[in-house]
């Protein structure tokens, strides 16, 4: 965070703004505000890792000594490990299904003009704006009515639903930057439709696919409300954490687990961002 701090007020963008720059040193209120805002955004999140190393069971200052025991204890908890496995399965399947659906849909939206395109584009974004509790409760009722018991399968069905808008928008921007004449050239040189897709289209949008897989995996991995309603007796990691939050004695372990999850999410997302940028550059 030190880079933007040391950065002087940047070159203004318009002539109007450059007029104001000629005035003697104006106090950069907005920059100060922006930095304050960043602190507001980061401070609570960074508390989890900070106190996960604290040798005490209460989250308060002054901190006691440094310890790694809360992390060490995590490995001994079987229900936690089972929840972790559940989350990994759900996340992986969700990522695969949502990204495949998103890949085809995004290709259609970017490449073809057809009746109902706007309707369809609006529809797949709908999961973003329906309150979670309503999605969760209505899906529970639906699945029970269809004879599907709450399980990892129902969680996956729900997670694909909420992850789809993310997959579609990432894949759309990947196809946006894609030069169609490459496909036409391959076609003219005698490749089949499938051959063109596999040997020309796929390699070019591959970074977008990786980004979409990572993002949808993270969305599923962190999702709580749907999993809470739909997981039955197969808790995912967030559902497990929810069950632990109530016990003050378990607090340090929850902090350690939470910190690991934070780290995993951020690493996954930064990797996704890297691939997304690469897909934009390669085009």
């Amino acid at each position: 965070m030190s880079t933007p701090v040391s950065e002087p007020l940047n070159k203004p963008l318009s002539a109007a703004a450059s007029k104001s720059r000629r005035r003697p040193l104006r106090f950069p209120w907005l920059l100060v505000y922006a930095i304050g805002y960043l602190i507001f955004l980061y401070l609570p999140v960074l508390l989890l890792p900070l106190f996960s190393f604290n040798d005490g069971t209460i989250v308060a200052f002054p901190m006691k000594g440094f310890t790694l025991k809360w992390y060490a204890q995590l490995g001994e908890q079987d229900t936690l490990l089972q929840a972790m496995v559940n989350s990994l399965i759900v996340g992986a399947v969700t990522a695969l299904v949502a990204t495949s659906l998103g890949l085809f849909a995004a290709r259609a939206y970017v490449r073809y003009r057809f009746r109902g395109r706007e309707l369809s584009e609006g529809l797949v974004m709908l999961p973003l704006v329906i309150p979670g509790i309503i999605v969760a409760s209505s899906m529970l009722v639906l699945f029970i009515s269809l004879g599907l018991k709450p399980s990892l399968t129902t969680v996956i069905l729900g997670h694909v639903f909420v992850a789809l808008p993310f997959a579609v928008s990432i894949m759309k921007s990947a196809f946006d930057d894609f030069d169609q004449s490459l496909e036409e050239a391959a076609f003219d040189l005698g490749e089949s439709v499938i051959g063109t897709f596999r040997r020309v289209t796929l390699p070019i949008v591959a970074p977008g696919i990786v980004a979409s897989l990572l993002v949808t995996f993270t969305v599923s991995f962190d999702e709580f409300v749907l999993a809470f309603f739909l997981s039955g007796n197969q808790p995912t990691l967030p559902v497990y954490i929810w069950s632990q939050i109530r016990f003050p004695a378990k607090l340090p372990n929850t902090l350690a687990l939470g910190s690991l999850l934070l780290l995993a999410s951020v690493l996954l997302l930064l990797t996704a961002e890297y691939f997304r940028r690469r897909s934009a550059k390669s085009a």
Binding site: A16, A60, I134
Partner: protein, 287 residues
Amino acid sequence: MAGFLRTEAGKGLVLSAPASLYVGFLVAAPLGILVAYSFWTQTYVEIDKTLTWANYLEAATDPLVRHLLLRSILIAAAVTAATVALAYPIAYFIAFRTHKKTLWLLLITIPFWSSYLLRVFSWKLVLGFNGVMNSALISMGLITEPLTFLLYNEFAVVLTLAHAWAPFAILPIYVSLQKIDRSLLEAATDLGLTKLERFIRVTLPLSVPGIIAGSLIIFIPTVGDYVTPSLVGGSQGKMVANLIQVQFGPANNWPLGATLSLVAMASVGFVAILFVILATALGRRIR
């Protein structure tokens, strides 16, 4: 048929069909069943499928339902207003006052990618009676007794959600500010507007679409938020989602739960449409 599949329209439809059918089915089917349930009643485990308005009557007359629904909408409105107001200067800063746009956008979105549950949980730790804030203030000697008004009330809910939704407000507002044609701003200055006038009469109205988008994407999910009121809301901060969860969980009254979900959704839709109409009109007026 085979001919249609080779046309542009055919290919587009076929490729987009799996996604739209999936979402379409999972929106329509649960909604349909929810509607059906809302006209049924439940005694213990038996569902009585005689159609009745009883659940709607109960939802309309029960003061607790009305109270929680109203409070959810008010809290969501407060959260939306607070988030947008706090976010606007940041969006403005990124759009007009810095060249490191990508870095700033990344910095703002990173915390949002951590688990929502964990972010809410950390606010509980910050605001608690023996929490981080109180213990820090005490060890600095600023207060002697822990502050009790921090946690378990509406304030805690609004603060936590204003934090959780930050990028959802910043990004759309930033996009609409970024789109503004800079020559319009120059023209405004050349025509003698002061900076404040220029902001109020040019920049702000042109960013209204971003404000509307950000507000909706925050307001709608917030009305139905479950985690935040449960963790930091206490009894004062409970919202309608908590009541819905009780019906599907401990109280085991699915028909009433279904009714409450539908009523909540309808209220959200109504308020959202009202807001869009008002904001659009206001945006036109100040111009």
